[in-house]
């Protein structure tokens, strides 16, 4: 079980430990250092880039038992939590006060905040509220030399460099996170959820382009193409029309006056882009059903093939129609039907390649198609990953974006905290690119699936 996560990668730890306290973590790290064994942290293992896999073998620290919410400060909208707390449990603990934790990855019912911090996770509502990094103000960390340190400050704005900003999203390669102080957000007064139905994918993507260009930023703007929405509909019955080419699930929130006028403006843009219909969720039940369709989409697709490979790339939103066409072409070229269900509002694509991992040749083609799509994102001015992280999935592709000088600096930052690469080796940095300082300790049992 601990050999896998949500990605197509694989890596086998030699020992798995379940600490209860920060001091436990520090002691484990000390012991591992003594025996020069690598260490990797892990939350729920829902990650999609291999970030929590033991690429170098060694000790895996699973934070499942450090799952306490230590403090909730309703007045100042802060919560102090341990890394093993499940994302949605933070919201559950504070919703009585009208508050919630904004980052909402699709896996929020099972993924943990420690993993969210490591990967700087996003979610549908990232569009308006930002990634995990925008909601974390302080961290307690265990460094690879076993030292326990704190960075950031509870009220924000600690004098000095923004260390919290550096550690969030560092994919477990600089330190292990043992305590997190998060910001809580206040539920909006009004939420309106729209489902816009289109007969052509191009019309849906042009709607997103126009909405962005007119400066309308909804709280969320998700797209499902016809192929994926049919799969979802068969499984969830969320009310997505099976004969449509694409739907946009759009949510606006704020003061009632703002939400209403935004919803009206969005409906107008949808209609001028030939939407067949724009529905508005009548009540909470309607809304939940639409979101259930979105959140469980990957599960629905899982019924269609033994395995699916969810990609994560980002493009400028103005290039959305072009990108979707190119993804379609790539699918044809490699012989896959590639579905798209993604965060359209911030240009964060999630093409899904269905494949059978037992078929070696098909697996290779899936990887090649994925690489072509990610290269396309970069060529359109985009990035390798919007929310899943680089991990061991895309570390070799990092050279598409970064120069030797960039790697030198990132390497110096890495070595400033993790000089022996004992912590989460083989991630982020390309191994092929003279980044030989990363010493992946070869273990007889560990190997990446791709090599």
């Amino acid at each position: 079980m601990y050999e896998f996560d949500g990605s197509v990668e694989k890596g086998r730890p030699e020992v798995i430990v379940f600490p209860h306290t920060t001091e436990d973590v520090s002691r484990i790290v000390k012991l591992a250092a003594k025996y020069q064994v690598p260490v990797v942290g892990r939350g729920a293992g829902t990650g999609l880039s291999g970030g929590a896999l033991a690429r170098g073998g060694g000790v895996m620290i699973v934070f499942a038992r450090m799952n306490r919410i230590l403090e909730v400060d309703v007045e100042n909208r802060r919560a102090v939590v341990q890394p093993g707390v499940v994302n949605l449990d933070i919201t559950r603990a504070v919703e009585h006060a009208g508050l919630y934790f904004a980052p909402d990855p699709s896996s929020q019912k099972s993924c943990t905040i420690g993993g969210n911090v490591a990967e700087n996770s996003g979610g549908p509502h990232t569009l308006a509220y930002g990634l995990t990094t925008n909601h974390v103000v302080a961290l307690e960390l265990v460094l690879p030399d076993s030292e326990i340190v704190r960075v950031g400050s509870r009220h924000g704005d600690a004098p000095g460099y923004d260390l919290c900003g550096l550690f969030v999203g560092s994919e477990g390669t600089l330190a292990l996170v043992t305590e997190i102080t998060v910001k809580l957000s206040r539920r909006a007064e009004a939420i309106k959820t729209l489902l816009a139905i289109f007969d052509a994918v191009g019309d849906a993507s042009h709607t997103v382009v126009e909405m962005t260009a007119r400066g309308i930023t909804p709280a969320a703007c998700e797209m499902l193409d016809g192929w994926t929405l049919r799969a979802v509909e068969d499984y969830i019955h969320a009310g997505f029309p099976r004969d449509s080419a694409a739907v946009l699930l759009i949510e606006v929130e704020g003061l009632i006056e703002a939400a209403e006028s935004q919803a009206a403006a969005i409906a107008e843009i949808c209609n001028s882009n030939h939407a067949r219909e724009v529905r508005t969720a009548r009540d909470e039940r309607d809304r939940d059903l639409l979101w259930k369709g979105r959140r469980n989409a990957f599960g629905a697709l899982g019924r269609l093939a033994p395995s699916n490979y969810v990609l994560d790339g980002v493009i400028p939103r103005s290039k959305l129609p072009e990108a979707l066409e190119k993804i379609h072409e790539t699918g044809k070229k490699f012989g896959f039907q590639i579905g798209n269900i993604f965060h359209a509002g911030d240009g964060n694509l999630h093409p899904i390649v269905l494949y059978d991992p037992r078929d070696k040749e098909q697996f290779k083609r899936a990887i090649a198609a994925a690489e072509e799509i990610i290269r396309m994102c970069v060529s359109l001015g985009g990035a390798l990953t919007g929310e899943h992280g680089v991990g061991m999935e895309k570390n070799e592709l990092m050279t598409l974006l970064f120069s030797d000088a960039d790697f030198d600096l990132m390497r110096r930052i890495h070595d400033a905290f993790n000089p022996d690469s004992s912590l989460n080796p083989g991630k982020i940095f390309p191994l092929s690119k003279g980044c030989g300082e990363i010493r992946v300790r070869k273990s007889t049992q560990s190997s990446g699936a791709r090599r």
Binding site: E75, Y161, D162, L163, T217, A258, D408, L409, I428
Partner: protein, 459 residues
């Protein structure tokens, strides 16, 4: 390091004629309360910046990049300061995709010029910081100076999406990108914010932009006591109403604010009437503005405000601009000023009275404002520069630093005479993560050439 050819000549050889200034009068304008550089260089491209930094490494010269130099007084003067880089010739918009709401701009671009380009597409950057007419975008980011729109739009770290810079080895580096959602690689650009030029020379910055609001409004109410004003301030923060700024201030601050607004402004009415005042600024559609206005009138009435007024879009904008410039006019409000920035909890009702209780004669005046997000400015104003006044200033600054530390709040001396900054320190007590900051500094600038000693803990 030693060479028979003089430094100015070698620099001229590096950059070409006319781009190296060594005249005493120019050097003085780049000086920082004491140290002035040996030369001022005006690079035209990131490549030239990289060449200069490589040269500085080879010759062991300390470098400070400057924009309009409006905030050179932040931090401590660097312990070494040989070359000033005048970045104002790097001022292109490298890339602007209005349809994606992203812009990539050179560090030396003045904020006002950038605002014009974005404004033509009905967009803006919510970085409402002092000196917009002259300040460069690079300086605004490197200084970490406060934006008064923070309550609504967050700080620069929330909309800076990438950066290009030259590191301390003379290499051109980048971090982030030009898309609004991106987790590729370490977020190094976040470290540059507020780093006072100690990590690298910023050459280009990428931002997400925002649509200009349709309309603006403000509301001002006056309260008899600090306690009643704080109650109102807290109630507004808890109300869920979207404010772009929320400012609670004392009578002295009000008087200075009125003076800065000038006689012509419509927002000036009765600002100097005394008491404690709360100003809420907000923006949005006309319907949103009307709704917030209505609620504020009701709430201020309920909470027994002495007076209350609604302020129209135009004067509201002037008022916002005056708050934005508070950093500037507060530090000029008396012959000797110590301006502290203190970050309190979001709901700071319990902490403010404690902080303000100390002011003792002969330090008779102070001006205080508390913004949303718990950011407070306290200006200690000494009308004399004699030994007694100086001693009182120092005592009070020291008291505030320790009072803030007790509350686990952070305090920074944004402005003060050099002697006071040297004696009382600028950053408060040394933080537990200082060693981590040293590691970051060492990684970015292994030869310690970027404004050494200027930043936190003399880093």
């Amino acid at each position: 390091m030693s060479s028979t050819v003089s430094l100015p000549l070698r620099l001229e050889k590096l950059l070409g004629g006319g781009r190296v200034q060594v005249s005493e009068s120019v050097l003085q304008t780049f000086g920082i309360a004491g140290p002035a550089p040996m030369a001022v260089l005006k690079p035209h491209s990131p490549d030239e910046v990289a060449e200069i930094v490589s040269f500085a490494v080879a010759e062991n010269l300390a470098v400070l990049a400057c924009g309009s130099r409006s905030k050179l007084g932040l931090g401590l003067p660097p312990s070494r300061y040989d070359l000033a880089l005048d970045m104002t010739d790097l001022r292109q918009i490298a890339h602007y995709d209005p349809g994606d709401l992203t812009v990539s701009v050179d560090a030396g671009m003045p904020l006002l010029e950038l605002a014009k380009v974005l404004g033509a597409k009905n967009q803006f950057l919510p970085l409402a910081v002092p000196f917009p007419a002259t300040s460069t975008i690079g300086g605004a980011i490197a200084s970490g100076i406060d934006s008064v729109l923070r309550q609504q739009y967050g700080t620069a770290r929330d909309f800076l999406i990438g950066a290009e810079f030259v590191d301390g080895t003379g290499k051109k580096c980048k971090s982030g990108g030009r898309v609004v959602k991106n987790v590729t690689g370490y977020d190094l650009h976040k470290l540059l914010i507020g780093s006072l030029g100690t990590l690298g020379v910023i050459t280009r910055l990428n931002f997400r932009t925002f649509p200009l609001p349709e309309s603006r409004g403000a509301h001002r109410s006056t309260f008899p006591t600090l306690e009643s004003a704080l109650n109102f301030h807290s109630a507004l923060l808890k109300s869920g109403l979207p404010f772009s700024n929320l400012e609670l201030f004392d009578a002295e601050f009000a008087t200075l604010l009125a003076a800065s607004l000038g006689k012509a402004s419509g927002a000036r009415t009765s600002l100097g009437a005394g008491g404690w005042q709360v100003v809420a600024c907000f923006e949005g559609s006309v319907a949103v503005i009307d709704r917030i206005r209505r609620e504020l009138m009701e709430r201020s009435g309920r909470m027994q405000a002495l007076s209350s007024e609604s302020i129209d879009s135009q004067p509201a904008q002037q008022l916002e601009a005056a708050f934005r410039e508070a950093f500037d006019w507060l530090r000029r409000a008396a012959p000797s000023v110590a301006l502290l920035r203190i970050v309190l909890p979001r709901i700071a009702s319990g902490d403010v009275p404690d902080l303000l209780n100390g002011s003792q004669p002969p330090l008779q005046r102070s001006a205080f404002t508390l913004r949303a997000c718990g950011v407070a400015y306290l200006a200690l104003l000494a009308d004399e520069e004699d030994a007694r006044a100086n001693a009182a200033l120092e005592r009070e600054v020291t008291r505030l630093f320790s009072s803030a530390a007790e509350k686990k709040a952070s305090a920074t001396l944004l402005h003060a005479p050099l002697w006071l900054r040297e004696r009382a320190g600028v950053w408060g007590a040394k933080r537990a993560d200082f060693q981590m900051m040293q590691r970051v500094r060492q990684a970015f600038d292994p030869h310690n050439i970027f404004a050494p000693g200027r930043f936190v803990g003399g880093i």
